[in-house]
């Protein structure tokens, strides 16, 4: 009996020390500064994970400020912020959709700041009060499996045709901010948007899950066409060699800037502002473009995807959209049951 307990304790202490060592390695390399910055900045970032890691590493190299990241879905980030209200931790929060940014703004508590590169920022990528900083953007598109449909350029309403019966899927708008904003823009921006949405449901539209899960259904050939697929996921899969193709339907789509915000409770305010400035730097914007996202400034262009001026858009009235976004998302899930 004694022997066993000793064994157990031994194994336990080995684990503890191993993990302890692993944890300490990262926490020692701060000190060097540029412009008097030091310490750390805590950033809550949604996907894409590769981009988040690269941005963090580049910022640390440039300023010496350690970046602590929490990566999660927008939902997880929002839940975390709410739970931490009594003891705020985040310095910069990045969200995956503009409407989530507007929701946070409506709750109050965002710091107003004018980034140094403000003149270069795309129109509509920063709000009037300078609290939402759209450092990148995505658009939703139609992504289709070329082993099932070799060529496709149908407009939104044509996807309800009998040819595509039971072949269409859409990301869950209650899980994907991009899909939610698209539906809101679609319903408010197009005259017959809501009717088209209903006709998709009648044509056998399914909701396989969040962005990636929905794309998965099309990649594996379960469904042929993904409506409102996030474009950067599509581009990166195509570059890997998956049999997919992507296009923006002629009547337009919704461009969705991905905002960074600074809570006014940020414990490291100076570092937070420096991080936002860094997001609009040429170096960071190149990384954004490499991740197949639309850059947030007008002097960096992406060469691996359609640029802003090549995408047909539905004029987005965000105020109107905000009013009906959640309702529309719930409605879509309801009619696709």
């Amino acid at each position: 009996m004694k022997k066993r307990i000793i064994y157990l304790l031994l194994v336990l202490s080995v684990f503890l020390s191993l993990v302890g060592c692993g944890g300490n390695d990262t926490a020692e390399t701060s000190g060097e500064t540029e412009g008097g910055l030091s310490g750390k900045v805590t950033v809550y970032m949604p996907s894409p994970a590769g981009l988040a890691d690269k941005l963090a590493a580049a910022f640390t190299e440039k300023t010496g400020v350690e970046v602590e990241q929490f990566q999660g879905t927008t939902g997880e980030i929002l839940a975390r912020l709410e739970a931490e209200k009594a003891n705020p931790v985040a310095d910069v929060v990045i969200l995956a959709s503009w409407s989530d940014g507007l929701t946070l703004k409506a709750e109050g508590g965002l710091e107003s700041y004018t980034p140094t590169a403000v003149d270069k920022i795309n129109e509509g990528f920063i709000d009037e009060d300078h609290t939402l900083f759209g450092y990148s953007a995505s658009a939703v598109a139609v992504i289709y499996n070329t082993t099932i449909i070799p060529e496709l350029d149908a407009d939104w309403d044509e996807l309800a045709n009998a040819d595509y019966k039971d072949m269409i899927a859409i990301p869950d708008p209650e899980k994907s901010g991009a899909a939610k904003d698209f539906l809101a823009g679609f319903v408010t921006g197009l005259e017959n948007g809501e009717a088209i949405m209903e006709s998709w449901a009648a044509n056998g539209l399914i909701v396989p899950g969040a962005n990636k899960a929905a794309l998965e259904a099309v990649t594996t050939g379960e469904k042929a066409i993904l409506i409102a697929g996030v474009d950067y996921n599509g581009y990166s899969s195509i570059d890997k060699g998956e049999p997919l193709a992507i296009y923006y339907p002629a009547s337009g789509t919704v461009i969705n800037p991905r905002p960074a915000v600074i809570p006014n409770t940020a414990p490291n305010m100076d570092n937070a502002k420096a991080f936002v400035d860094f997001l609009f730097s040429e170096e960071a914007q190149q990384m954004v473009a490499e991740a197949y996202l639309l850059p947030g400034v007008n002097d960096v262009k992406a060469d691996n995807r359609s640029n802003l001026d090549e995408i047909p858009v539905i004029p987005a009235d965000w105020n109107k959209m905000m009013g009906i976004a959640s309702e529309t998302a719930a409605k879509l899930n309801d009619i696709c049951k």
Partner: protein
């Protein structure tokens, strides 16, 4: 005249305060969000959410699912437990580990595996093109019940198997001497002796099904079957975040589970038999004939094929496929994903983090949980019920609600105890979430111990500690170890807790997999799932070597 003897009850009071601090404070923190609106106590809004008619359907769905899963996992677990405990198959102890594999598999991974296997143009249709759309029939309520049962049946099986092992041969033999036939022995002796343990196991399965999120989200929503937990998650993680509503909804779940727990308690108390007594016992061996053995292996084979074969075929093949769009085709396979995983520092550190969390939380739970059970047995009246109820509470609500409560509570006392945002808060959260497992397993072990053994120890002048160390502990050790293993397995792959409460820059296996699913490569995620299960198996083998050197 009732009087609470303060001195006598002091240990219980202290334990209750500790549990209250760990479990009740977080719960109060989140339920306060439901009933305190604009600084005033207001039950109206919470009441409205609870009585919303749409919820009736999801409550009905949840209950239907819970009952169906209990029935289905009983069908799988009972024969398997019998075969593994009573027949020649008992000597193949590797089967114990094999039957843990479905439980080691993260539920969302297993259901993804099933979806990939059964869906249109899925693996089944690629293997057997001539069957047409046959496999798509899987996508209905029955499929969901099957997948969930396959995940939880090991719970019930382990509990029943341990209980069967404790039934001494003498009871059945004496029945045989008095002329009872096989069926009669089974229905009059064997079955009644197990009812208490079965009730505990069934409750665990039921509660686990009700609070499960992964499978209902991946598979349930695809077939349009909505349950309670998906709604609760929606309230807590879609903007605008509303913790109050998710807490209100959870209260229904707690209510249902508490009710089930009372029923289980009633059954277990009525059917506890003091089986483990001073006399040396010999477990029964039923010698199966050649045909019987064939049948037994056939049954084991079928269960293994369905519970492990199918999902793992999908998981492993996905982890080896180069391009998902081309499916199972020659030249489309690669080991590259595994190579990438084993050379990425983030992947490696996530494995270490998960191991650390699993070992530490399982160990702490085993110690604390055993103390709680001992106290529950010693205590009387109020303390007995209160201790047990509080310690089982974490099991009765979806983990997201408790985790959010923990986050709210520990942030509010951050100035006093700065534990939040360290790995310590993760250990703490895991301990809180998993303590019911130890409590259930040890309680199940206790239902069979004969009080006379302890009395004998005391009669011979042993100190209470000596009695505990030499009599109680060895007899409940099987329960403690089974609980440790279960907690290790669950903690190793826990997703919901980790995805919310993990401090910055800390990844664990499940969040790593999830990140790959969401943004990276599904194949990489599946590869990590395979590695996760392999590590779990190795860890369990080591653990068994350490704690059961004589029995293995």
């Amino acid at each position: 005249m009732k009087q609470i003897d303060f001195k006598k009850n002091l240990p219980f009071i202290l334990l209750l305060i500790l549990l209250g601090f760990l479990i009740l404070c977080p719960l109060i923190s989140i339920f306060a969000k439901a009933v305190i609106i604009d600084g005033r106590l207001d039950f109206y809004q919470a009441w409205q959410i609870i009585t919303n008619s749409e919820n009736l359907q999801t409550i009905y769905n949840s209950l239907l699912l819970g009952v169906s899963v209990v029935l289905c996992s009983t069908v799988i677990a009972v024969p398997t437990a019998f075969l593994l405990a009573r027949t020649q198959l008992a000597k193949y102890s590797f089967l114990d580990i094999v039957f843990m594999v479905p439980f080691m598999t993260p539920p969302y991974i297993a259901s993804m595996g099933w979806i990939l296997f059964m869906q249109k143009n899925g693996l089944f249709q690629q293997l057997f093109p001539s069957t047409g759309a046959l496999s798509e029939n899987f996508f209905q309520f029955g499929g969901l019940v099957l997948v969930m049962s396959l995940h939880v049946f090991p719970f019930l099986m382990t509990m029943l198997k341990n209980a069967i092992l404790n039934i001494p041969a003498s009871l059945e033999e004496s029945a045989a001497v008095f002329g009872a036939g096989k069926t009669k022995r089974l229905t009059k002796i064997f079955a009644p002796l197990l009812t208490g343990n079965y009730a505990i196991g069934a409750l665990l399965v039921f509660v686990k099904t009700l609070s499960e999120y992964g499978t209902p989200y991946t598979l349930g929503r695809r077939i349009g079957f909505y349950v309670f937990t998906t709604d609760i998650h929606r309230y807590s993680t879609t903007a605008p975040v509303d913790f109050g509503s998710s807490a209100s909804l959870s209260s229904i779940l707690i209510f249902i589970c508490m009710g089930m727990w009372m029923v289980q308690n009633y059954i277990t108390n009525r059917t506890s038999y003091r089986l483990v007594s001073g006399k040396g016992t010999r477990p029964v061996q039923t010698e199966l004939s050649k045909l019987g053995q064939f049948g037994a292996w056939l049954w084991i084979g079928i269960v293994v094929l369905i519970a492990i074969g199918i999902p793992y075929f999908a998981i492993i093949s996905t982890s080896l496929i180069k391009l998902r769009g081309f499916g199972l085709a020659a030249g489309n396979f690669t080991f590259g994903h595994y190579k990438e995983l084993l050379t990425t520092p983030k992947a490696i550190s996530s494995i270490w983090n998960s191991l650390f969390l699993a070992v530490s939380s399982a160990t702490i739970c085993s110690i604390l949980g055993t103390i709680v059970v001992l106290a529950v047995r010693k205590a009387k009246g109020f303390f007995k019920k209160a201790l047990e109820a509080v310690s089982l509470l974490p099991e009765m609500l979806p983990s997201i609600v408790l985790v959010l409560g923990i986050m709210l509570f520990w942030n509010s006392i951050y100035k006093i105890i700065p534990l939040y945002n360290t790995i310590g808060i993760m250990v703490l959260a895991y301990v809180i979430l998993y303590i019911p497992y130890t409590v259930s397993y040890v309680t199940s072990a206790f239902t069979q111990i004969n009080e006379s053994l302890l009395e004998a120890g005391r009669t011979f002048g042993a100190t209470p500690f000596y009695v505990f160390r030499r009599i109680t502990l060895p007899m409940i050790s099987r329960g403690i170890f089974a609980g440790w293993m279960m907690i290790f397995i669950i903690a190793f792959r826990e997703l919901v807790t980790a995805s919310l409460i993990a401090p910055p820059n800390t990844l664990v296996i499940s969040t790593y997999i999830n990140r790959e699913f969401e943004q990276g490569s599904v194949s990489l995620g599946m590869g990590m799932a395979v590695i996760c299960v392999i590590i779990t198996i190795i860890a369990l083998l080591i653990f068994r070597k350490i704690v059961e050197p004589k029995e293995v």
